[in-house]
Amino acid sequence: MSIAEEESPSVMPKVITFLCSLLERVAESNDHNQHLQQHQKISVFHGLTRPNISIQCYLERIFKYANCSPSCFVVAYVYLDRFTQRQPSLPINSFNVHRLLITSVMVAAKFMDDMFYNNAHYAKVGGITKVEMNFLELDFLFGLGFHLNVTPGTFQAYCVHLQREMLLIQPLNFSDSTLNLGQSLKAHLCFNEDECSHQKQKQQQQLAV
């Protein structure tokens, strides 16, 4: 399978499920810890109230209407992680997770895909105005320091992390080959073996911490 080939459609909706599960737990955890964190900033990503739509429904909506490469969702996850590492005073919570999600997927699609929808389309999908979408995009890019490239090693490591999430959701089905995300994507990710193993090691050390 060539490095540019698309993943099978049966695999990718699972990624949505795993990503959703992970973000729900992170947001919930940060909601609970909010009173302990004095240095939290309010950012352009914060809504005044919690959106009514669940993270699951929101992600499915983005998946349905964004029509971007399934890989974009893994890359969006990488961006969210980088963003929160670079902006420790802006942890993901239920007030900002939706805006962060729509922005990260849009930026991933713009960077990764040659054909993608414009900001106006993503604004509609995300239920926000075009003006707000553009503000969010700029803030997200500068917040990331425009660090958008994702190496195969990093991509693989984040797939492994999502795979762990799958274990939490579906511990009994782990051997099911259609769920084995790391395996099914492994064929794509052998551009630079040294980098892959080095990145993976580094990533797993970080995740272990």
Binding site: A120, N134, L138, P152, F155
Partner: protein, 314 residues
């Protein structure tokens, strides 16, 4: 990178004095400017944001991101900073601050054409080696340039230093994605697989462009100056022969494949008569039809053509 609303940081207007406009692209103008604090001359690429619909242009997004990663290589133009500002109408603009380079390879070749001189063979060799080195660096980091042409190769005519620029069409090719567009790259430097509609392509598209640039440095004329996709293919076929399944397995399955006029391959020396034997051998390996058979940038650097080149300062 200056973050929006970054307090206490000078805006582009305050930090730079525009000296002259040196170019214009799809998304805005390029200025030669002076950094007020240091007196250093820089290139300022001003990017308009089409605020209502598109937001940050994908070319800008890719260029900044990719140059953040590649700018440390001496043969890739250095992106020094990105600043956010506002124009007279109060619209958001981004300023990309680059090191300033005096000229580009297109102007360099034109100057030789106008004076009727040939580019010295050792100069060609040095420039080609630097180009291969820069391309190898990009490819080694999983980046396809996809728009290599003389205009996008900046030069310092005093030191003969060459740098790859304009990575707006570049993209990462290391993660599985949807099909690539085949509407990339200026026609004259476009690889046959792209012209024939391949939707998945590789580093070999850049090597084809490098080969076309190599020939142009020698002859001071574009190797394949087509004015449409069809004419471009016919230019290629006339010199290299019409491809078939024997020389290029899978060619007839490509989206834009038709029955084309049949030409036999010519010797490359007919098109590039003043190039020596080793140069012709390297060029032929860069212009192989089958992408997987095309030489890599890294291998090209090891080619015997470059053996007599002093590489210490390159």
């Amino acid at each position: 990178m200056e973050k929006p609303g970054g307090g206490g940081v000078l805006s582009a207007k305050e930090a730079f004095e525009k000296l002259e406009k040196v170019g214009e692209g799809t998304y805005g103008k390029v200025y030669r400017a002076r950094e007020k604090a240091t007196g250093k001359i820089v290139a300022l690429k001003k990017t308009r944001l089409h605020e209502d619909e598109e937001g940050v242009p994908p070319t800008t997004l890719r260029e900044v991101s990719i140059l953040r990663m590649l700018s440390r290589d001496p043969h890739v133009v250095r992106l020094m900073d990105v600043k956010q500002g506002q124009n007279k109408e109060g619209k958001t603009v981004l300023y990309l601050v680059f090191e300033y380079m005096d000229t580009d390879l297109k102007k360099f070749i034109r100057s030789f054409r106008q004076t009727g001189q040939t580019v010295p063979p050792q100069t060609i060799k040095s420039l080609m080696y630097q180009l291969c080195k820069g391309v190898a660096f990009c490819h080694g980091h999983g980046i396809l340039h996809r728009d290599l042409k003389p205009h996008n190769l900046l030069m310092d005519p005093k030191t003969m230093m060459l740098k790859i620029a304009d990575l707006g069409l570049a993209r990462a090719f290391t993660v599985p994605i949807k099909k690539y567009t085949h509407e990339i790259l200026t026609l004259w430097y476009r690889a046959p697989e792209v012209l024939l509609g391949a939707t998945h392509y590789s580093m070999a598209v850049d090597i084809w462009s490098v080969g076309c640039i190599f020939a142009e440095l020698v002859t001071k004329q574009a190797l394949f100056p087509g004015d449409s996709e069809l004419q471009q293919l016919l230019h290629i076929f006339r010199l290299l022969g019409t491809p078939n399944e024997d020389v290029w397995p899978g060619v007839s399955k490509l989206m834009n494949w038709h029955e084309y006029p049949q030409w036999n391959p010519q010797s490359l020396s007919t098109a590039v008569p003043s190039l020596d034997e080793l140069g012709l051998d390297l060029l032929s390996q860069m212009l192989k039809y089958e992408p997987s058979k095309r030489i890599s940038a890294k291998k090209a650097m090891e080619h015997a053509y470059f053996d007599d080149l002093d590489k210490r300062h390159l």
